[in-house]
Protein backbone atom coordinates (compact mmCIF):
# COMPACT_ATOMS: atom_id res chain seq x y z
CA UNK A 1 0.00 0.00 0.00
CA UNK A 2 2.69 2.45 0.95
CA UNK A 3 4.50 1.47 -2.24
CA UNK A 4 1.54 2.76 -4.22
CA UNK A 5 1.46 5.89 -2.08
CA UNK A 6 5.09 6.53 -2.91
CA UNK A 7 4.36 6.09 -6.59
CA UNK A 8 1.39 8.46 -6.45
CA UNK A 9 3.07 11.24 -4.50
CA UNK A 10 6.22 10.89 -6.52
CA UNK A 11 4.45 11.07 -9.85
CA UNK A 12 2.15 13.93 -9.00
CA UNK A 13 4.38 16.23 -7.01
CA UNK A 14 8.04 15.36 -6.86
CA UNK A 15 8.71 14.24 -10.39
CA UNK A 16 5.79 16.00 -11.96
CA UNK A 17 5.58 14.74 -15.49
CA UNK A 18 5.49 18.20 -17.00
CA UNK A 19 7.42 20.34 -14.60
CA UNK A 20 10.32 18.05 -13.96
CA UNK A 21 10.26 15.27 -16.56
CA UNK A 22 9.35 17.45 -19.53
CA UNK A 23 6.85 15.05 -20.99
CA UNK A 24 3.70 16.32 -22.64
CA UNK A 25 5.01 19.84 -23.04
CA UNK A 26 3.16 20.42 -26.30
CA UNK A 27 -0.37 19.99 -24.95
CA UNK A 28 0.73 21.62 -21.71
CA UNK A 29 1.57 24.79 -23.60
CA UNK A 30 -1.18 24.42 -26.17
CA UNK A 31 -4.29 23.49 -24.25
CA UNK A 32 -3.74 25.59 -21.13
CA UNK A 33 -5.27 28.80 -22.37
CA UNK A 34 -8.66 28.13 -20.91
CA UNK A 35 -9.52 26.34 -17.71
CA UNK A 36 -12.43 24.46 -19.24
CA UNK A 37 -10.35 23.00 -22.04
CA UNK A 38 -7.54 22.20 -19.59
CA UNK A 39 -9.93 20.15 -17.52
CA UNK A 40 -11.24 18.40 -20.63
CA UNK A 41 -7.75 17.61 -21.82
CA UNK A 42 -6.75 16.41 -18.37
CA UNK A 43 -9.64 13.99 -18.19
CA UNK A 44 -9.01 12.74 -21.71
CA UNK A 45 -5.33 12.15 -21.00
CA UNK A 46 -6.05 10.41 -17.72
CA UNK A 47 -8.53 8.15 -19.43
CA UNK A 48 -6.20 7.25 -22.28
CA UNK A 49 -3.18 6.82 -20.05
CA UNK A 50 -5.01 4.44 -17.75
CA UNK A 51 -6.12 2.34 -20.70
CA UNK A 52 -2.77 2.53 -22.45
CA UNK A 53 -0.92 1.62 -19.25
CA UNK A 54 -2.97 -1.53 -18.82
CA UNK A 55 -2.76 -2.54 -22.44
CA UNK A 56 0.97 -1.95 -22.87
CA UNK A 57 1.74 -3.78 -19.64
CA UNK A 58 -0.23 -6.78 -20.84
CA UNK A 59 1.45 -6.74 -24.22
CA UNK A 60 4.89 -6.44 -22.66
CA UNK A 61 4.33 -9.23 -20.13
CA UNK A 62 2.37 -11.66 -22.24
CA UNK A 63 3.67 -11.12 -25.76
CA UNK A 64 6.98 -9.29 -25.92
CA UNK A 65 8.74 -10.82 -22.94
CA UNK A 66 7.72 -14.47 -23.48
CA UNK A 67 8.70 -14.27 -27.13
CA UNK A 68 11.99 -12.59 -26.32
CA UNK A 69 11.26 -9.63 -28.48
CA UNK A 70 11.32 -6.91 -25.81
CA UNK A 71 13.27 -4.77 -28.23
CA UNK A 72 10.06 -4.23 -30.19
CA UNK A 73 8.70 -2.30 -27.24
CA UNK A 74 8.68 1.15 -28.82
CA UNK A 75 6.98 0.20 -32.02
CA UNK A 76 4.50 -2.09 -30.34
CA UNK A 77 3.52 0.49 -27.77
CA UNK A 78 3.08 3.31 -30.22
CA UNK A 79 0.90 1.10 -32.36
CA UNK A 80 -1.23 0.22 -29.40
CA UNK A 81 -1.56 3.80 -28.30
CA UNK A 82 -2.33 5.19 -31.72
CA UNK A 83 -4.95 2.56 -32.33
CA UNK A 84 -6.36 2.95 -28.85
CA UNK A 85 -6.77 6.69 -29.17
CA UNK A 86 -8.51 6.41 -32.47
CA UNK A 87 -10.67 3.61 -31.25
CA UNK A 88 -11.68 5.50 -28.14
CA UNK A 89 -12.44 8.56 -30.20
CA UNK A 90 -14.72 6.63 -32.49
CA UNK A 91 -16.48 4.84 -29.66
CA UNK A 92 -17.11 8.01 -27.74
CA UNK A 93 -18.29 9.80 -30.82
CA UNK A 94 -20.87 7.12 -31.40
CA UNK A 95 -21.98 6.33 -27.90
CA UNK A 96 -21.83 9.62 -26.07
CA UNK A 97 -21.99 12.76 -28.16
CA UNK A 98 -21.92 14.87 -24.99
CA UNK A 99 -18.68 13.32 -23.83
CA UNK A 100 -17.31 13.61 -27.34
CA UNK A 101 -18.02 17.32 -27.38
CA UNK A 102 -16.14 17.67 -24.13
CA UNK A 103 -13.21 15.35 -24.82
CA UNK A 104 -13.29 14.51 -28.51
CA UNK A 105 -11.33 17.45 -29.73
CA UNK A 106 -8.47 16.61 -27.42
CA UNK A 107 -8.22 12.95 -28.30
CA UNK A 108 -6.37 13.31 -31.61
CA UNK A 109 -3.84 15.48 -29.81
CA UNK A 110 -3.05 12.69 -27.42
CA UNK A 111 -1.52 10.40 -30.04
CA UNK A 112 1.46 12.68 -30.28
CA UNK A 113 1.48 13.36 -26.56
CA UNK A 114 4.79 11.88 -25.55
CA UNK A 115 3.53 11.55 -21.98
CA UNK A 116 1.43 8.53 -22.85
CA UNK A 117 4.20 6.58 -24.53
CA UNK A 118 6.86 7.86 -22.15
CA UNK A 119 5.10 6.83 -18.98
CA UNK A 120 4.09 3.48 -20.47
CA UNK A 121 7.75 2.75 -21.14
CA UNK A 122 8.87 4.01 -17.74
CA UNK A 123 6.33 1.78 -16.01
CA UNK A 124 7.85 -1.21 -17.76
CA UNK A 125 11.42 -0.09 -17.11
CA UNK A 126 10.70 0.18 -13.40
CA UNK A 127 9.45 -3.43 -13.33
CA UNK A 128 6.11 -2.43 -11.93
CA UNK A 129 3.37 -4.97 -11.41
CA UNK A 130 0.17 -4.44 -13.35
CA UNK A 131 -1.46 -2.57 -10.51
CA UNK A 132 1.60 -0.48 -9.89
CA UNK A 133 1.92 0.29 -13.56
CA UNK A 134 -1.68 1.42 -13.85
CA UNK A 135 -1.39 3.47 -10.68
CA UNK A 136 1.79 5.02 -11.95
CA UNK A 137 0.15 5.89 -15.25
CA UNK A 138 -2.90 7.38 -13.62
CA UNK A 139 -0.85 9.28 -11.06
CA UNK A 140 1.28 10.77 -13.79
CA UNK A 141 -1.84 11.70 -15.69
CA UNK A 142 -3.17 13.35 -12.57
CA UNK A 143 0.12 15.20 -12.26
CA UNK A 144 -0.26 16.30 -15.85
CA UNK A 145 -3.81 17.42 -15.22
CA UNK A 146 -2.76 19.25 -12.08
CA UNK A 147 -0.02 21.14 -13.89
CA UNK A 148 -2.36 21.84 -16.77
CA UNK A 149 -5.14 23.18 -14.57
CA UNK A 150 -2.80 25.32 -12.49
CA UNK A 151 -1.29 26.66 -15.67
CA UNK A 152 -4.70 27.39 -17.16
CA UNK A 153 -5.77 29.26 -14.03
CA UNK A 154 -2.64 31.34 -14.21
CA UNK A 155 -2.89 31.95 -17.92
CA UNK A 156 -6.46 33.12 -17.65
CA UNK A 157 -5.20 35.65 -15.15
CA UNK A 158 -2.18 36.85 -17.08
CA UNK A 159 -4.33 37.32 -20.14
CA UNK A 160 -5.40 40.69 -18.82
CA UNK A 161 -1.87 41.76 -17.95
CA UNK A 162 0.19 44.17 -19.92
CA UNK A 163 2.78 41.63 -21.06
CA UNK A 164 5.48 42.87 -23.43
CA UNK A 165 4.57 41.93 -26.96
CA UNK A 166 7.47 39.64 -27.69
CA UNK A 167 6.54 37.51 -24.66
CA UNK A 168 3.04 36.78 -25.87
CA UNK A 169 2.19 33.14 -26.39
CA UNK A 170 4.89 30.59 -25.79
CA UNK A 171 7.54 32.66 -23.99
CA UNK A 172 5.31 33.82 -21.17
CA UNK A 173 3.86 30.34 -20.85
CA UNK A 174 7.37 28.95 -20.56
CA UNK A 175 8.31 31.51 -17.94
CA UNK A 176 5.21 30.62 -16.01
CA UNK A 177 6.11 26.96 -16.29
CA UNK A 178 9.60 27.74 -15.08
CA UNK A 179 8.32 29.56 -12.02
CA UNK A 180 5.89 26.75 -11.33
CA UNK A 181 8.70 24.28 -11.58
CA UNK A 182 10.75 26.36 -9.14
CA UNK A 183 7.80 26.19 -6.75
CA UNK A 184 7.54 22.45 -7.26
CA UNK A 185 11.21 22.12 -6.27
CA UNK A 186 9.81 22.46 -2.76
CA UNK A 187 8.56 18.89 -3.03
CA UNK A 188 11.97 17.40 -3.75
CA UNK A 189 13.12 14.88 -1.23
CA UNK A 190 9.62 14.49 0.11
CA UNK A 191 9.81 10.71 0.43
Amino acid sequence: MSELGVIIIGAIFINNIVLSQFLGICPFLGVSKKLSSAIGMGIAVTFVMALAGTLTWIIQSYILNPLGIAYLQTIAFILVIAALVQFVEMVIKKTSPGLYKALGVYLPLITTNCAVLGIAIVSIQKNYSLIEAVVNNVANAVGFTLALILMAGIRERIEESDIPKCFHGFPIALFTASLMSIAFLGFTGLL
Binding site: G68, L72, A82, F87, L109
Partner: protein, 295 residues
Protein backbone atom coordinates in the same frame (compact mmCIF):
# COMPACT_ATOMS: atom_id res chain seq x y z
CA UNK B 1 13.57 -12.95 -35.69
CA UNK B 2 10.58 -14.88 -36.84
CA UNK B 3 8.58 -14.02 -33.78
CA UNK B 4 9.37 -10.39 -34.29
CA UNK B 5 8.14 -10.34 -37.82
CA UNK B 6 5.06 -12.39 -37.12
CA UNK B 7 3.95 -10.65 -33.98
CA UNK B 8 4.50 -7.17 -35.34
CA UNK B 9 2.79 -8.00 -38.58
CA UNK B 10 -0.05 -9.53 -36.66
CA UNK B 11 -0.37 -6.48 -34.52
CA UNK B 12 -0.36 -4.25 -37.56
CA UNK B 13 -3.02 -6.35 -39.22
CA UNK B 14 -5.16 -6.60 -36.11
CA UNK B 15 -5.12 -2.91 -35.43
CA UNK B 16 -5.60 -2.05 -39.05
CA UNK B 17 -8.63 -4.26 -39.36
CA UNK B 18 -9.94 -3.23 -36.00
CA UNK B 19 -9.79 0.43 -36.89
CA UNK B 20 -11.27 -0.12 -40.28
CA UNK B 21 -14.14 -2.08 -38.82
CA UNK B 22 -14.60 0.40 -36.04
CA UNK B 23 -14.65 3.31 -38.42
CA UNK B 24 -17.47 1.59 -40.29
CA UNK B 25 -19.33 0.57 -37.21
CA UNK B 26 -19.03 3.78 -35.27
CA UNK B 27 -19.27 6.08 -38.24
CA UNK B 28 -21.15 9.29 -37.54
CA UNK B 29 -22.55 11.18 -40.46
CA UNK B 30 -21.09 14.64 -40.74
CA UNK B 31 -21.70 16.72 -43.79
CA UNK B 32 -18.19 17.42 -45.05
CA UNK B 33 -19.40 20.59 -46.67
CA UNK B 34 -19.72 22.27 -43.27
CA UNK B 35 -16.02 21.81 -42.77
CA UNK B 36 -15.25 23.02 -46.27
CA UNK B 37 -17.33 26.14 -45.91
CA UNK B 38 -15.73 26.83 -42.59
CA UNK B 39 -12.40 26.71 -44.38
CA UNK B 40 -13.62 29.24 -46.92
CA UNK B 41 -14.76 31.67 -44.25
CA UNK B 42 -12.28 34.06 -42.65
CA UNK B 43 -13.02 32.66 -39.20
CA UNK B 44 -13.20 35.90 -37.27
CA UNK B 45 -16.56 35.01 -35.71
CA UNK B 46 -17.70 38.61 -36.08
CA UNK B 47 -21.34 37.67 -36.26
CA UNK B 48 -22.21 40.17 -38.96
CA UNK B 49 -23.95 37.39 -40.88
CA UNK B 50 -26.41 37.09 -38.05
CA UNK B 51 -25.35 33.62 -36.95
CA UNK B 52 -23.46 32.45 -33.90
CA UNK B 53 -19.98 32.64 -35.33
CA UNK B 54 -18.56 31.20 -38.52
CA UNK B 55 -19.45 27.59 -37.72
CA UNK B 56 -23.05 28.52 -37.08
CA UNK B 57 -23.20 30.26 -40.41
CA UNK B 58 -21.50 27.37 -42.20
CA UNK B 59 -24.05 24.92 -40.83
CA UNK B 60 -26.90 27.19 -41.81
CA UNK B 61 -25.56 27.49 -45.34
CA UNK B 62 -25.30 23.74 -45.73
CA UNK B 63 -28.82 23.30 -44.42
CA UNK B 64 -29.94 25.85 -46.94
CA UNK B 65 -31.06 28.25 -44.26
CA UNK B 66 -28.67 31.00 -45.21
CA UNK B 67 -27.46 32.48 -48.48
CA UNK B 68 -23.82 32.06 -49.48
CA UNK B 69 -23.01 35.75 -49.71
CA UNK B 70 -23.81 36.86 -46.18
CA UNK B 71 -20.22 37.09 -45.03
CA UNK B 72 -18.93 40.62 -45.44
CA UNK B 73 -15.39 40.01 -44.18
CA UNK B 74 -15.04 37.09 -46.56
CA UNK B 75 -16.14 39.24 -49.45
CA UNK B 76 -16.51 38.04 -53.01
CA UNK B 77 -13.82 35.43 -52.68
CA UNK B 78 -15.55 33.60 -49.88
CA UNK B 79 -18.82 33.87 -51.70
CA UNK B 80 -17.39 32.26 -54.79
CA UNK B 81 -15.76 29.47 -52.82
CA UNK B 82 -18.95 28.80 -50.94
CA UNK B 83 -21.00 28.86 -54.10
CA UNK B 84 -18.64 26.30 -55.59
CA UNK B 85 -18.99 24.06 -52.55
CA UNK B 86 -22.72 24.36 -52.50
CA UNK B 87 -22.97 24.06 -56.25
CA UNK B 88 -25.04 27.21 -56.59
CA UNK B 89 -24.85 29.74 -59.35
CA UNK B 90 -21.96 32.19 -59.11
CA UNK B 91 -23.13 34.45 -61.93
CA UNK B 92 -24.28 37.19 -59.56
CA UNK B 93 -21.03 37.27 -57.63
CA UNK B 94 -20.28 40.85 -58.64
CA UNK B 95 -20.85 41.91 -55.06
CA UNK B 96 -19.12 45.15 -54.29
CA UNK B 97 -16.85 45.33 -51.29
CA UNK B 98 -18.30 47.38 -48.46
CA UNK B 99 -16.41 49.45 -45.98
CA UNK B 100 -17.35 51.58 -43.02
CA UNK B 101 -17.52 55.37 -43.31
CA UNK B 102 -17.71 57.96 -40.56
CA UNK B 103 -20.52 60.47 -40.92
CA UNK B 104 -19.18 63.27 -38.73
CA UNK B 105 -16.73 66.05 -39.33
CA UNK B 106 -16.77 67.29 -35.76
CA UNK B 107 -13.02 67.33 -35.25
CA UNK B 108 -11.55 69.03 -32.21
CA UNK B 109 -11.08 72.26 -34.15
CA UNK B 110 -14.57 72.24 -35.64
CA UNK B 111 -16.72 71.42 -32.67
CA UNK B 112 -17.17 72.95 -29.26
CA UNK B 113 -17.41 71.12 -25.97
CA UNK B 114 -20.05 71.01 -23.29
CA UNK B 115 -17.81 70.00 -20.45
CA UNK B 116 -14.56 68.34 -19.61
CA UNK B 117 -15.11 64.61 -19.46
CA UNK B 118 -13.11 62.57 -17.04
CA UNK B 119 -13.44 58.83 -16.91
CA UNK B 120 -12.98 55.72 -18.92
CA UNK B 121 -12.27 55.95 -22.62
CA UNK B 122 -15.54 54.64 -23.91
CA UNK B 123 -18.14 56.44 -25.96
CA UNK B 124 -21.05 54.63 -24.31
CA UNK B 125 -19.83 55.52 -20.83
CA UNK B 126 -19.46 59.18 -21.75
CA UNK B 127 -22.75 59.36 -23.61
CA UNK B 128 -24.54 58.70 -20.32
CA UNK B 129 -23.58 62.19 -19.20
CA UNK B 130 -25.67 64.62 -21.23
CA UNK B 131 -25.13 62.65 -24.46
CA UNK B 132 -21.40 63.13 -24.20
CA UNK B 133 -18.96 65.98 -23.81
CA UNK B 134 -19.46 67.35 -27.32
CA UNK B 135 -21.80 70.29 -27.56
CA UNK B 136 -23.30 68.65 -30.64
CA UNK B 137 -25.50 65.86 -29.39
CA UNK B 138 -25.23 64.07 -32.71
CA UNK B 139 -21.47 64.25 -33.08
CA UNK B 140 -18.68 61.75 -32.72
CA UNK B 141 -17.46 61.57 -29.13
CA UNK B 142 -13.97 60.57 -30.20
CA UNK B 143 -13.40 58.15 -27.33
CA UNK B 144 -12.69 55.25 -29.61
CA UNK B 145 -15.31 52.60 -28.89
CA UNK B 146 -15.22 51.75 -32.58
CA UNK B 147 -11.42 51.51 -32.48
CA UNK B 148 -11.64 48.96 -29.68
CA UNK B 149 -14.48 47.08 -31.32
CA UNK B 150 -12.87 46.60 -34.72
CA UNK B 151 -11.57 43.03 -34.89
CA UNK B 152 -9.31 43.87 -37.82
CA UNK B 153 -7.47 46.86 -36.39
CA UNK B 154 -8.82 48.90 -39.27
CA UNK B 155 -9.86 51.92 -37.19
CA UNK B 156 -7.35 54.23 -35.54
CA UNK B 157 -8.00 57.43 -33.65
CA UNK B 158 -6.82 60.34 -35.76
CA UNK B 159 -5.06 63.44 -34.49
CA UNK B 160 -8.22 65.49 -34.88
CA UNK B 161 -10.15 63.40 -32.38
CA UNK B 162 -12.05 61.48 -35.03
CA UNK B 163 -11.60 57.82 -35.93
CA UNK B 164 -9.90 57.12 -39.24
CA UNK B 165 -10.83 54.00 -41.14
CA UNK B 166 -8.14 52.14 -42.99
CA UNK B 167 -9.83 51.11 -46.20
CA UNK B 168 -7.26 48.40 -46.84
CA UNK B 169 -8.04 46.61 -43.63
CA UNK B 170 -11.76 47.26 -43.31
CA UNK B 171 -13.80 44.21 -44.19
CA UNK B 172 -17.25 45.70 -43.82
CA UNK B 173 -18.09 43.42 -40.93
CA UNK B 174 -20.52 45.94 -39.50
CA UNK B 175 -19.28 45.64 -35.92
CA UNK B 176 -18.29 49.29 -35.59
CA UNK B 177 -21.62 50.33 -37.08
CA UNK B 178 -23.40 48.43 -34.36
CA UNK B 179 -21.05 49.71 -31.69
CA UNK B 180 -21.23 53.47 -32.28
CA UNK B 181 -23.68 54.94 -29.76
CA UNK B 182 -24.33 57.84 -32.11
CA UNK B 183 -24.89 55.69 -35.19
CA UNK B 184 -22.28 57.68 -37.06
CA UNK B 185 -20.72 54.79 -38.94
CA UNK B 186 -22.29 53.40 -42.02
CA UNK B 187 -21.41 50.70 -44.50
CA UNK B 188 -21.07 51.85 -48.06
CA UNK B 189 -19.76 50.37 -51.28
CA UNK B 190 -16.10 51.02 -51.78
CA UNK B 191 -16.73 53.00 -54.95
CA UNK B 192 -18.96 55.45 -53.12
CA UNK B 193 -16.80 58.43 -52.29
CA UNK B 194 -19.18 61.25 -51.39
CA UNK B 195 -20.77 61.45 -47.96
CA UNK B 196 -22.61 64.00 -45.89
CA UNK B 197 -20.35 63.98 -42.90
CA UNK B 198 -22.93 65.28 -40.46
CA UNK B 199 -25.97 63.81 -38.75
CA UNK B 200 -27.04 66.87 -36.79
CA UNK B 201 -30.77 67.20 -37.19
CA UNK B 202 -31.05 70.35 -35.12
CA UNK B 203 -31.96 73.76 -36.50
CA UNK B 204 -29.39 75.46 -38.68
CA UNK B 205 -28.31 77.98 -36.06
CA UNK B 206 -28.08 75.48 -33.24
CA UNK B 207 -26.08 73.16 -35.42
CA UNK B 208 -23.76 75.91 -36.56
CA UNK B 209 -23.26 77.05 -32.96
CA UNK B 210 -21.91 73.73 -31.82
CA UNK B 211 -19.89 72.74 -34.88
CA UNK B 212 -18.29 74.65 -37.74
CA UNK B 213 -18.76 71.74 -40.10
CA UNK B 214 -22.42 71.06 -39.39
CA UNK B 215 -25.10 70.58 -42.01
CA UNK B 216 -27.14 73.78 -41.95
CA UNK B 217 -29.94 72.41 -44.10
CA UNK B 218 -29.41 75.12 -46.72
CA UNK B 219 -30.38 72.68 -49.47
CA UNK B 220 -27.65 73.97 -51.81
CA UNK B 221 -26.58 70.38 -52.33
CA UNK B 222 -30.08 69.28 -53.08
CA UNK B 223 -30.57 72.05 -55.61
CA UNK B 224 -27.29 71.50 -57.38
CA UNK B 225 -27.16 67.73 -57.60
CA UNK B 226 -27.66 66.70 -61.22
CA UNK B 227 -28.75 63.21 -60.23
CA UNK B 228 -31.10 64.14 -57.40
CA UNK B 229 -28.97 62.01 -55.14
CA UNK B 230 -28.74 64.43 -52.21
CA UNK B 231 -31.76 65.40 -50.25
CA UNK B 232 -32.42 67.14 -46.97
CA UNK B 233 -34.51 64.54 -45.23
CA UNK B 234 -36.83 65.54 -42.43
CA UNK B 235 -38.13 63.32 -39.66
CA UNK B 236 -39.66 64.04 -36.27
CA UNK B 237 -36.23 64.88 -34.79
CA UNK B 238 -35.34 67.42 -37.42
CA UNK B 239 -33.67 67.39 -40.78
CA UNK B 240 -30.29 66.69 -42.31
CA UNK B 241 -28.88 66.13 -45.80
CA UNK B 242 -28.55 62.49 -46.84
CA UNK B 243 -26.94 60.99 -49.94
CA UNK B 244 -28.62 58.20 -51.83
CA UNK B 245 -25.64 56.09 -52.85
CA UNK B 246 -27.59 54.28 -55.51
CA UNK B 247 -27.89 57.51 -57.43
CA UNK B 248 -24.66 59.30 -56.55
CA UNK B 249 -22.07 59.37 -59.33
CA UNK B 250 -19.22 60.84 -57.29
CA UNK B 251 -19.35 64.00 -59.40
CA UNK B 252 -18.56 66.13 -56.38
CA UNK B 253 -20.68 69.17 -57.21
CA UNK B 254 -22.38 69.09 -53.82
CA UNK B 255 -18.96 69.03 -52.20
CA UNK B 256 -18.03 72.31 -53.78
CA UNK B 257 -21.40 73.84 -53.02
CA UNK B 258 -21.65 72.93 -49.34
CA UNK B 259 -20.94 76.14 -47.37
CA UNK B 260 -19.81 74.35 -44.21
CA UNK B 261 -17.85 71.60 -45.98
CA UNK B 262 -20.12 69.08 -44.35
CA UNK B 263 -20.11 67.07 -47.56
CA UNK B 264 -16.82 65.44 -48.40
CA UNK B 265 -15.41 63.34 -51.15
CA UNK B 266 -12.92 60.74 -50.10
CA UNK B 267 -9.85 60.29 -52.24
CA UNK B 268 -10.41 57.41 -54.62
CA UNK B 269 -9.21 54.09 -53.38
CA UNK B 270 -6.49 52.27 -55.25
CA UNK B 271 -7.89 49.98 -57.88
CA UNK B 272 -6.07 46.94 -56.56
CA UNK B 273 -7.44 47.48 -53.10
CA UNK B 274 -10.90 47.75 -54.55
CA UNK B 275 -10.56 44.62 -56.53
CA UNK B 276 -8.70 42.27 -54.24
CA UNK B 277 -9.87 41.52 -50.81
CA UNK B 278 -6.92 40.73 -48.67
CA UNK B 279 -7.96 38.36 -45.97
CA UNK B 280 -7.33 39.48 -42.44
CA UNK B 281 -3.62 38.91 -42.14
CA UNK B 282 -2.88 39.31 -38.47
CA UNK B 283 -6.13 38.16 -37.06
CA UNK B 284 -6.23 34.58 -38.13
CA UNK B 285 -8.23 32.37 -35.81
CA UNK B 286 -6.14 30.83 -33.10
CA UNK B 287 -6.05 27.06 -33.23
CA UNK B 288 -5.25 24.92 -30.28
CA UNK B 289 -1.65 25.90 -30.87
CA UNK B 290 -0.32 22.72 -29.40
CA UNK B 291 1.28 21.60 -32.59
CA UNK B 292 1.20 22.39 -36.23
CA UNK B 293 -0.04 19.12 -37.55
CA UNK B 294 -3.68 19.59 -36.98
CA UNK B 295 -3.67 23.34 -36.54
Amino acid sequence: MLYAVISLAAMGAVFGVMLAVASKKFAVEVDPRVEEILQALPGVNCGSCGFAGCSGYAEAVVKGEAPVGACNPGGAEAKQKMAAIMGTDTADSGMERKIARLLCNGSTSNSSMLYKYEGIEDCHAAAVHYSGPKACHYGCLGLGSCVKACPFGAIKMGTEGLPVINTDLCTGCNICVQTCPKQLLQLAGISQLVDVRCRNKGKAKEAKDVCKAACIKCKLCEKNCPEGAVQVVTDNEGSVAVIDHTKCTNCGICVTKCPTKAIEKASPIKAEVCAVQDGPSENKPAGCGSCHICG
